[in-house]
């Protein structure tokens, strides 16, 4: 499969975009030429120069440094969200498929209730009650989206449990727990990874969207959505201040989406051969 990923231009473009954002996030302190939080009103709206590669914003902060640090915020929230959603989704989804019966029905009903609430309503309620903060925004996104992950994993796990090789495993003496860990989980993992990779894109967009609306992060954080929101006032005078964070969100989300879609095509193609 790795060879097929390497041969797919779409997957490689996606991987390249993911790699750029990941490297920017990890090595931000060594890449940035300036402190992203230092305000200098005498330096505002400066044109790109060797000191400020992409110029400065409305408060004289280095735009390039803020964009590089923005990768930390976006991925720093999107990846924990994905890990938590993965643990919840895989555990509950597989448990539903393995245990079935009343347990499955109860979890399905509860997830249907959670799916009925729009994410924005849940986030607004939690941030309103508990205040701003990265933990609260992560928690609120997890609360508003766990049901989607659980439902997706459950659907794949139930489909896998119905296959003949599962009956074969039972005949070979495997119990439900062993079947889940040895057969179901490894076989649904490719589909899960596809969903998760597009899920990262959606989580990044959600975090940026909420920051844009002023939900979640303290004012002045170098987060792409928040930067986009702050730059709105200078839309006509300095549209590039909207363009840069917008492009960063687009490129990162596109990276995960492209990779996820390419992975799906590769796996789908493989199963029909």
């Amino acid at each position: 499969m790795i060879r097929r990923i390497l041969k797919s231009p779409q997957a490689m473009v996606g991987l390249a975009l993911i790699a750029i954002t990941l490297l920017a996030a990890v090595f931000a302190p060594w890449i940035v030429p300036n402190n992203p939080d230092v305000v200098s009103l005498t330096q505002k709206f400066k044109a790109p120069s060797t000191v400020h590669p992409l110029g400065t914003d409305q408060l004289g902060r280095c735009e390039f440094s803020r964009l590089v640090y923005g990768a930390r915020y976006s991925l720093g929230m999107a990846l924990p969200i994905l890990v938590i959603l993965g643990v919840i989704g895989l555990t509950l989804g597989c448990a539903c498929a393995g245990i079935g019966g009343v347990f499955d029905r109860v979890v399905t009903i509860i997830s249907d209730i959670f799916i009925a609430f729009p994410a924005l309503t849940v986030v607004a309620a939690i941030i309103g009650a508990w205040g701003n903060g990265i933990e609260n925004i992560v928690l609120s996104i997890v609360i508003s989206t766990w049901a989607w992950f659980t439902r997706m994993v459950r659907a794949y796990a139930v489909m896998e449990m119905g296959k003949e090789y599962i009956l074969g495993a039972r005949i070979a003496g495997a119990g439900t727990v062993r079947i889940i860990f040895r057969h179901v989980l490894p076989n649904i993992m490719p589909q899960y990874l596809i969903y998760a990779s597009t899920g990262v894109a959606s989580a990044i967009l959600t975090v940026s969207g909420f920051s844009f609306l002023g939900l979640g992060l303290p004012a002045g954080s170098p987060e792409w959505g928040a930067m986009l929101s702050e730059a709105r006032a200078s839309l006509y005078s300095h549209p590039e201040l909207l363009l840069y964070p917008g492009l960063c969100i687009l490129a990162t989300a596109a990276g995960y989406n492209l990779f996820g879609e390419a992975l799906r095509d590769i796996l789908h193609g493989g199963s029909t051969r």
């Binding site: 003949e164 090789y165 074969g168 039972r170 003496g173 495997a174 076989n187």
Partner: protein, 253 residues
């Protein structure tokens, strides 16, 4: 050894807006003796597979009981007993879909050994290799996945899995359907040879009277969930008297 006592299986199905009971298996009794060879013959949908899964303890019967050496094993929980699971094995219809697509041939054959015998790694490997040799599978296939093998090879892997734990009964559910005649004959002869080497009862669940006549000493003919005739024929076609059995015999190649 294994006895079905008035087992039946019915499902509730909705027909024209009303719930009705569909009888997959009507009250049926029969015995499987140690080391004997049986066949359960009938058309698709006659309840053969349902009955065989009840016999294996994979499906609970709606009524009746399955007794293994006099002890009840009816229901799913019976197979949690490793001793019961090791005594009753089954070879499923489609070799490819009966094997985990991610598993290598080694892992597939080792699975029942790991679950039911729990041998040390070295002994496990020796057993897997000897089973592969017995099933005429080259050792070079040890690390191939099921999808990379031919239909006949996949079937032999499935049989190797079944005999790995030295069961007392193996149920073959349409075990040779879908294979070309030469491979089919080869596998059936291999099964005959295996039974001479390690005594074990066989139950062939099939729609093919040819296979039943070739392999089984006693044939049970099943129609619409009911065993309509049982004949210890040992290859003699003239002993069948039920019209449905005669129809199956007359359709033989």
């Amino acid at each position: 050894m294994l006895e079905a006592v008035r087992v039946e299986k019915s499902y509730a199905v909705r027909t024209q807006g009303r719930m009705k009971a569909f009888h997959a298996v009507r009250p049926t009794s029969f015995r499987i003796e140690e080391g004997a060879s049986y066949a359960l013959v009938g058309e698709s949908g006659s309840g053969k597979t349902t009955l065989s899964q009840i016999l294996m303890g994979l499906l609970p019967p709606t009524a009746g009981d399955i007794l293994l050496d006099g002890a009840s094993i009816a229901g799913k929980s019976a197979r949690r007993d490793r001793n019961v699971a090791a005594q009753l094995q089954m070879v499923l219809q489609d070799g490819k879909s009966a094997l985990d697509p991610r598993f290598t041939v080694y892992d597939s054959i080792a699975e029942p050994i790991r679950n039911l015998l729990k041998l040390p790694r070295e002994k496990e490997r020796e057993l897997v290799v000897s089973l592969m040799q017995r099933m005429e599978l080259s050792e070079k296939h040890l690390h191939n996945r099921a999808g990379e093998l031919s239909g006949g090879q996949q079937k032999r892997v499935c049989i190797a899995r079944a005999i790995a734990v030295s069961p007392r009964l193996i149920i073959f559910d349409e075990a040779v359907s879908g294979l070309d005649v030469i491979v089919r004959k080869h596998i059936l002869d291999l099964l005959k040879a295996l039974r001479r080497e390690r005594p074990c009862a066989y139950l062939f669940v099939t729609h093919d009277m040819d296979v039943a006549m070739y392999m089984a000493e006693t044939i049970h003919v099943m129609k619409e969930g009911e065993i309509v005739e049982r004949v210890t024929c040992k290859g003699n076609q003239t002993l069948f008297v039920h019209p449905y059995s005669r129809l199956l015999v007359s359709s033989m190649a």
